[in-house]
């Protein structure tokens, strides 16, 4: 124990490299990212083999016929990952039907799953850049979905205006919930990690309440489900109704461009980054740190609200209790993998979207629990967070940028 404790971190000299970029996980190259993905999939494979009944049966006589265990494990892992691929990218079985949805169906599912993840990832990433941890994605998504959904089924506006109004309502809903946490932090110093988590629960029960109220709940009032969204408020499908991918994908991409512009081209973004880099220096330079907290949480909440919009106006026909579908928490891993910048977050969202879409197929066709995807996601981020570990595992020497671990260490005291 003592020997590991003494193991050196990065060389002291490397600490002095300027932190030009926000690196929560340490600078690491694409190679490390790919290796982290491979390592996570290997661990996932071990879990699949462990969960497989045939493999466990074969392992009971491992010493008599060891090969049986390996073939059974190999078959289980191969089938599971094949199903993952078929669900996420291309499925030869459905493609054989020759229809467009047969070819593009899996990609459509990946993009549909990726859209809210990208938006949520941008939300978390924006807060990261200002030095805040937005763990309240769940609550903000719920509020965004509730606001957008309410406008979507309760107001009856003309075509075109309706969908815009609903999207705006979703933005407002998410921004309110995020801004509340920002305001609490700015005014009272309540740590946003705590308040956002608590606001998640409050939002959840608020939604449960709304789903039991006449006017919100759909008749005949038996199930906890809202009225259906009017067709005029729905975001249009991109390739016909046989595939779920819809215009919310463009909202996500536009949000990514906005994110990039805000942080790299605008004065506000500069201020927010200054607050994130060093709040004391920012305050000395005349930037209102408190206002920064409120503004960044408002925008972050709005982005999460858009994820809720994507869920309710794009994918789901009505609001249910699990409208957030775990996106709030997955968004954190997306933002981390995406290094809290726009392009990275889009790519990370696509990767995790593919894992999500594939995971559903994997569970239905091979019985491998979909929780595996969560484990793989966590492992990817863990491995990327510790590039030195990945390099040691693959006996690969990193160069230059990848060598350091100049991560932003932030404690409770800001």
């Amino acid at each position: 124990m003592s020997s590991t404790a003494e193991a050196p971190g990065p060389e002291p000299g490397e600490k002095k490299t300027p932190r030009t970029q926000w690196r929560p996980l340490g600078g690491s190259t694409i190679v490390v990212t790919v290796l982290a993905f491979v390592a996570a999939m290997i661990v996932g494979g071990v879990l699949i083999a462990f969960a497989d009944q045939d493999t466990r049966t074969a392992s009971s006589y491992f010493f008599a016929y060891p090969w049986d265990t390996f073939t059974a494990a190999g078959r289980a892992i191969g089938n599971a990952y094949l199903a993952l691929f078929e669900g996420a990218i291309f499925n030869p079985n459905t493609a054989a039907s020759g229809t467009l949805s047969g070819y593009l169906g899996p990609i459509s599912e990946t993009l549909t799953s990726a859209t809210p993840l990208i938006l949520g990832g941008l939300s978390v990433g924006l807060a990261f850049r200002a030095g805040l941890f937005n763990i309240g994605g769940q609550g903000q998504i719920i509020l965004g979905a509730v606001f957008a959904g309410f406008v979507g089924f309760h107001w009856h506006l003309p075509l075109g205006i309706h969908v815009v109004a609903a999207v705006l309502a979703g933005i407002i809903g998410g921004a309110l919930w995020g801004g509340l946490a920002g305001l609490l932090k700015a005014r009272t110093g309540a740590h946003e990690v705590i308040t956002t988590i608590m606001l998640n629960y409050v939002a959840f029960y608020l939604l449960e309440f709304l789903l039991s109220v006449r006017g919100f709940q759909a008749p005949p009032y038996g199930q906890a489900i809202s009225n259906n969204i009017d067709p005029s408020a729905r975001l249009p499908h991109l390739f016909g109704s046989s595939m779920r991918v819809n215009a919310s994908l463009f909202i996500a991409l536009a949000a990514a461009v906005f994110f990039w512009w805000l942080l790299t081209r605008s004065t506000l973004g500069f201020k927010l980054r200054a607050v994130g880099a060093n709040q004391f220096a920012a305050r000395t330079a005349g930037i209102s740190v408190e206002r920064g907290y409120v503004v960044v949480m408002l925008i972050a909440g709005a982005l999460s609200g858009l994820a809720g919009v994507a869920q309710i106006l794009g994918t789901n026909p009505a609001i249910t209790g699990d409208i957030d579908a775990g996106i709030g928490f997955d968004a954190i891993t997306v933002a981390l993998l995406g290094r809290a910048n726009a392009g990275g977050t889009v790519l990370a969202g696509l990767l995790f979207g593919a894992l999500r879409a594939g995971g559903v197929q994997m569970q239905s066709s091979t019985g491998t629990p979909v929780d595996l995807v969560e484990v793989v996601q966590a492992l990817i981020v863990l491995f990327i967070a510790a590039p030195a570990l990945v390099r040691a595992m693959f006996r690969f020497r990193g160069t230059g940028d990848a060598a350091g671990a100049g991560q932003l260490a932030k404690g409770w005291n800001g």
């Binding site: 705590i194 967070a385 260490a409 404690g411 409770w412």
Partner: protein, 439 residues
């Protein structure tokens, strides 16, 4: 590492205490006073005049099978609410005009909360004649709900006092809950289940320690990711292996309460505190041990030194990284015990996401309790009380029906108010979350 050297680290502690008594700013004084007056008026006018005249509020204080029967406390609801409300208004008025000092204010806020809750309970009993609140049941439920929170909060304190942020309490808890249920089922021995829970929690703590201390990963990020990892892994194994083999792998016994001979016969607190399971007794012991150890022993002094000023601790010869490894794993083990309290200490079988956010609430308790074992325990109790109260209230009919969903929000809202209002700007251990690199 002689005693003479370590005693030098104590000095900054003294300085901190001097800073504590700052005068309260006028603006904050007026805001606090106004909030207190508003709360008092709500008690008096809202609950007092809101309760139906002539109704009594009955607080039942003895269980049916109790050794010494304690008579019920019967209060006239409306007058009680009025009196409690005026007490709070008076406190608020004094705060507005003269202002309490910071240390007094803490007591004032405590009294206000007690008055408010009592008034609320009185009011809620006036919906129907003969409604009574089983105070004993309420309190015993509070303790039941508080145990995992207290243990989780202690885990956080032990870990964070040494300078490593522990957002992964939730993950350590669920790992402990899972291991406890699984191993107790397989071996048919609850103590092996507890041991497995401790080891599983410590293993999660070890992961946190390795990535935080050796690989210098941002600790908040790390905690969140480890939670996802633990939740996913236990959920995966549950779905893949435990669910199909429930009888052999997921049906552990549960700890039965053991009455302590004399103490359990004391009216009210006897059955409440001294007729409990082994895990609950272990929690009592741990609260005292962690509190004493942290402030009265060499281990505690070193822990705090490493958490406040690792460089100074290193200079006097304390092995900073080793102290951190040890504390993080110890914290993980305590959180693992909290998990065991959820499965083999309560309902037995493990289910997916059984900790359902309790680790985060424990984390809030750590911050609300200002990183002290006593404070964290009190915060955990407060939260558990809010949770127990909402269960009680959902069974009685207040004069004005409150949807159960809002009652379910109560503990979380209480935490937000507590963290935002009562605590204000808290000061964490100075080096909490900052990796230490020798150099």
């Amino acid at each position: 590492m002689s005693v003479a050297k370590t005693s030098e680290v104590r000095e900054p502690e003294v300085i901190v205490h001097e800073v504590v008594e700052r005068p309260v700013s006028t603006r904050r004084r007026i805001i606090t006073g106004a909030v207190l007056v508003a709360a008092g008026l709500l008690c008096a006018l809202g609950f007092g005049l809101g309760s139906r005249a002539g109704f009594d509020a009955t607080f039942r204080l003895s269980a049916v099978e109790q050794y010494v029967a304690v008579p019920d406390v019967v209060l006239p609801a409306r007058i009680t609410c009025l009196v409690l409300g005026f007490v709070v208004v008076a406190l608020g008025a004094y705060q507005l005009v003269r202002g309490f000092s910071r240390s007094q204010l803490r007591w004032v806020v405590t009294v206000t909360i007690v008055c408010f809750v009592l008034a609320f309970m009185c009011w809620s009993m006036t919906g129907r004649k003969g409604t009574e609140i089983d105070v004993l049941g309420l309190l015993s439920n509070t303790i039941f709900l508080a145990i995992p929170l207290i243990l989780g909060a202690l885990a956080g304190v032990v870990c964070e006092r040494s300078g490593v942020i522990n957002i992964a309490i939730e993950g350590q808890m669920i790992a402990g809950a899972w291991a406890g249920a699984l191993f107790a089922s397989v071996t048919h021995n609850l103590y092996i289940g507890v041991l497995a829970a401790l080891i599983a929690g410590a293993a999660m703590g070890w992961l946190l320690a390795v990535f935080a201390i050796r690989y210098l990963v941002n600790q908040v990020v790390l905690g969140v990711v480890l939670n996802v990892f633990a939740l996913g892994l236990t959920g995966f194994i549950y779905d893949a292996v435990m669910q199909p083999n429930t009888l052999t792998l997921n049906s552990p016994d549960v700890f039965q309460p053991i009455a302590i001979p004399v103490l359990s016969k004391i009216p009210i607190i006897g059955p409440l505190l001294f007729d409990q399971t082994v895990i609950v007794y272990a929690t009592y012991v741990l609260i005292v041990v962690v509190d004493v150890a942290l402030f009265r022993t060499r281990w505690g002094l070193r822990t705090r030194a490493v958490g406040e000023h690792p460089k100074a601790a290193d200079t006097v010869g304390i092995n900073v990284l080793w102290v951190r490894y040890r504390n993080v794993m110890l914290g993980g083990a305590i959180a693992g015990l909290a998990g065991a309290a959820l499965t083999i200490g309560a309902i037995g079988a493990f289910t997916k996401d059984i900790s359902s956010g309790k680790g985060f609430i424990a984390l809030a308790a750590v911050i609300f309790g200002r990183w002290s074992p006593r404070g964290a325990t009190a915060a955990a109790l407060l939260f558990a009380f809010a949770d127990a109260l909402q269960t009680v209230l959902s069974f009685i009919n207040p004069p004005f029906p409150i949807p159960s969903y809002f009652l379910a929000m109560l503990p979380y809202l209480a935490t937000i108010f507590a963290v935002a209002g009562l605590v204000g700007r808290v000061r964490a251990p100075a080096a909490d979350g900052e990796p230490y690199v020798k150099g």
